[in-house]
């Protein structure tokens, strides 16, 4: 996904990075892109994009513009733009998205509703 630079050490200014060595609990409302490589439990909302890396474990409802999921997500996903389930993705929850891409090998257990542009409020 071109929206994130995977080789950047800390993301760009204004981005939130949840690294593999931390655990976040609570209601997280971001103002920029959010990159998750560690553990998150609660809720995750941003008007921008979310990338959940292959080692990440997220137990939360997620609302964002675009979401790229390569890790494990237990919760519902609501995106106004694109949702991509990468080959390593495991999603246990319902989807509301304008656009959905499921790569071979991805696991999806839940209902899927395609919208013309689900509104995301953060």
């Amino acid at each position: 996904m071109a929206m994130f630079k995977s080789d950047s050490s800390t993301g760009k200014q204004g981005d939130t990075v949840i690294g593999a060595a931390v655990k976040v609990e609570g209601n997280f409302v971001g103002e920029g892109n959010v990159i998750v490589e560690g553990q998150l439990q609660g809720t995750l909302k941003t008007k921008h994009n979310v990338m959940i890396g292959s080692g990440a474990i997220v137990k939360a409802n997620v609302e964002a513009q675009d979401v790229h999921l390569a890790g494990e997500l237990h919760g519902n996903v609501k995106v106004s733009g694109k949702l991509v389930l990468a080959t390593t993705a495991k999603l246990n929850g319902n989807i509301e998205a304008a656009s959905l891409t499921v790569e071979e090998g991805a696991t999806l257990n839940g209902k899927c509703v395609m919208t013309a542009g689900a509104k995301v409020e953060a």
Partner: protein
């Protein structure tokens, strides 16, 4: 009126000729003023308060990052514009503000481009650039009373208002949680990616152990502590080549 405050370390034989060049350039530019040299007998707080009482519009700090950091808590609540003339070895703050070292900084003062910057506040002490907490276990960060971050491995913590990752005009601070090297492959240290969280108010706790919170190499306070943004708190004279918009 200008008040110039010279750091004790800059008021030594080593920087004598540099200070003379600065004084000459200030006279040429017609922005000379009262010069106060810090000594054991004259405290920085006292000098700044005297400058404010005597209606100095501009207080200029002549010295290193340490002088700038030490002056912040007093200057933050004063209605003055701040200038910096970097003298000495450690001048990362003035570099980021686009201010050249020594006498060349006088031209930046004279041009008088000002920017209003955010400050960070840890308990009751203000800081301009960043804070550092060395690695410890059981470190938790409560951000904006909404979510809690727990470090799973010993990690250092940087809290930045003003750095490569942080803009001092964006209305928030950034906390960077950086895991220590955990293992070595072929002689090279392997680091997990750092975590970054923008915030307005943060509480740092470290279990039963108290960790130092450092600024410019000195411990200024210990955990637990509360860090928050003080938006648009400081009016500073900056150079054209500053590192923020």
């Amino acid at each position: 009126m200008y008040t110039y405050i010279v750091e004790a370390e800059a008021n030594t034989k080593k920087y004598e000729s540099e200070l003379s060049r600065i004084e000459s350039r200030l006279i040429q530019l017609e922005i000379s003023g009262k010069i106060e040299k810090l000594t054991i007998l004259k405290s920085l707080k006292e000098i700044i308060n005297d400058a404010v009482r005597s209606h100095s519009e501009t207080v200029v700090l002549i010295g290193s990052d340490k002088l700038v950091n030490d002056a912040m808590s007093t200057l933050a609540d004063a209605d003055v514009t701040i200038g910096i003339i970097p003298v000495g070895d450690k001048n990362t703050i003035s570099e980021a503000l686009g201010i050249p070292s020594g006498a060349a900084a006088c031209d930046v003062l004279s041009a008088r481009i000002t920017a209003t910057l955010d400050l960070g506040k840890v308990n009751n002490r203000y800081f301009l650039s960043k804070l550092y907490v060395p690695a410890g276990s059981n470190v938790t960060l409560e951000c904006d009373s909404k979510f809690q971050v727990s470090a799973l491995t010993p990690s250092t913590i940087d809290i930045a208002n003003f750095s490569d990752e942080s803009n001092p005009r964006d209305g928030h601070l950034d906390v960077v949680v950086r895991p220590e090297a955990s293992r070595r492959f072929f002689g090279r240290s392997s680091y997990s990616r750092a975590s970054v969280f923008p915030f307005k108010k943060l509480t740092i706790r470290s279990g039963s152990d108290s960790l130092p919170i450092m600024s410019d190499g000195e411990t200024i306070i210990k955990t637990p502590a509360t860090v928050e943004i003080a938006p648009k708190k400081l009016k500073v004279i900056v150079g054209k080549h500053r590192r923020f918009a």
